[in-house]
């Protein structure tokens, strides 16, 4: 009787997978390597900004006339550490003064307002390993005594080591 019971139990174990312990049938491995290249991106939201100082910007009795533009943004994506954004203009001897400030940066720190020249000057600091944007605030200044004219700047933004 006991023998029959034991044999029945054994057959049950053989036929019923649920009664077995969870069997591992096979394993297989391979290697997956993830490489992230150094990526450094900086981009302006629009290619052209126009600032016109007209009579509307002038006050009688005041020599300095100014106009501002906040229509464009600067965007960046940098996956290296310790980086900053500098800015320079292509115009070596402008007739009028053009200034630039980075407003409300989503990452990093804005440097003080820059008077644009051919010398690269800090615009944004501490933008390493970040992605973000800021408003570009251009301010053109002219003195009434400077007369009329046009400055066409090509503004270049560059990511540099900080």
């Amino acid at each position: 009787m006991k023998l029959r019971l034991l044999i029945s139990a054994a057959i049950l174990l053989l036929l019923c997978p649920q009664a077995r312990s969870q069997a591992i049938y096979a394993t297989s491995s391979h290697t997956v390597t993830v490489v992230v290249s150094t990526i450094t991106l900086v981009q302006v939201s629009s290619g052209v900004v126009g600032l016109t100082i007209s009579g509307a910007n002038a006050l009688a009795g005041q020599d300095l006339m100014t106009v501002s533009n906040e229509a464009t943004n600067l965007l960046w994506g940098i996956n290296s550490g310790l980086k900053k954004v500098v800015v320079n203009s292509s115009v070596a001897t402008p007739l009028f003064t053009l200034k630039l400030a980075a407003l409300s940066p989503s990452q990093g720190t804005a440097a003080p307002q820059v008077t644009l020249s051919t010398t690269a000057t800090d615009l944004l600091l501490n933008v390493g390993r970040s992605s973000g944007n800021c408003v570009l605030q251009y301010t053109a200044e002219a003195l009434a005594s400077q007369g009329t004219g046009t400055d066409a700047h090509t503004i270049t933004f560059t990511v540099q080591n900080q």
């Binding site: 049938y25 297989s28 993830v34 992230v36 150094t38 996956n79 290296s80 550490g81 390993r129």
Partner: protein, 154 residues
């Protein structure tokens, strides 16, 4: 005599329960792979890359089975996920995020009993991604995952 017979039967039972079918097979076809993230979006994030060049080959068993996945990647810095695509037998689970030291996570479940006995091939779709904040390999090194698949009773 009876006791010896009982002993033999129980031993055979234990052996058969512990040792899976002789035809059991699971293999990764396609070897080791590298996923390289090279581009990104200013104001956004690096663009994820996918790789579907590797096949997971498996066989049906005498029990309902599943395939699980885990990874070992000490010092992991970036993101990697895998999902089984074009699964001929069984049901693909949602994409699994591969994290160093993770426990086994289901990749394909409800693999039915055999027959058929021939190999089944599913595509392994890997997706690697990173954020700008996570840095780059030149400064931090690559992530090298040893990804292990297991065919196991469900």
């Amino acid at each position: 005599m009876t006791a010896r017979l009982i002993g033999i039967i129980l031993s055979l039972t234990a052996i058969l329960a512990a040792v899976p079918d002789a035809c059991a097979q699971l293999s990764v076809i396609g070897g080791n792979i590298t996923a390289t993230i090279t581009t990104g979006i200013a104001g956004g994030e690096p663009v994820a890359v996918s790789n579907s060049s590797v096949t997971l080959r498996y066989r049906l068993q005498s029990a309902i089975t599943k395939i699980t996945v885990r990874t070992s990647c000490p010092g992991q810095r970036f993101n990697l996920g895998v999902v089984a695509a074009a699964v001929p037998q069984g049901v693909a689970a949602p994409q699994v995020t591969l994290v160093n030291g993770m426990l086994d996570v289901d990749l394909i479940v409800s693999i039915p009993l055999k027959p058929p006995s021939q190999n089944q091939n599913a595509t392994l779709l890997y997706t690697a991604s990173a954020t700008f904040a996570q840095g780059n390999s030149a400064e931090l090194g690559n992530d090298v995952h040893t990804v292990t698949y297991t065919l196991i009773d469900q």
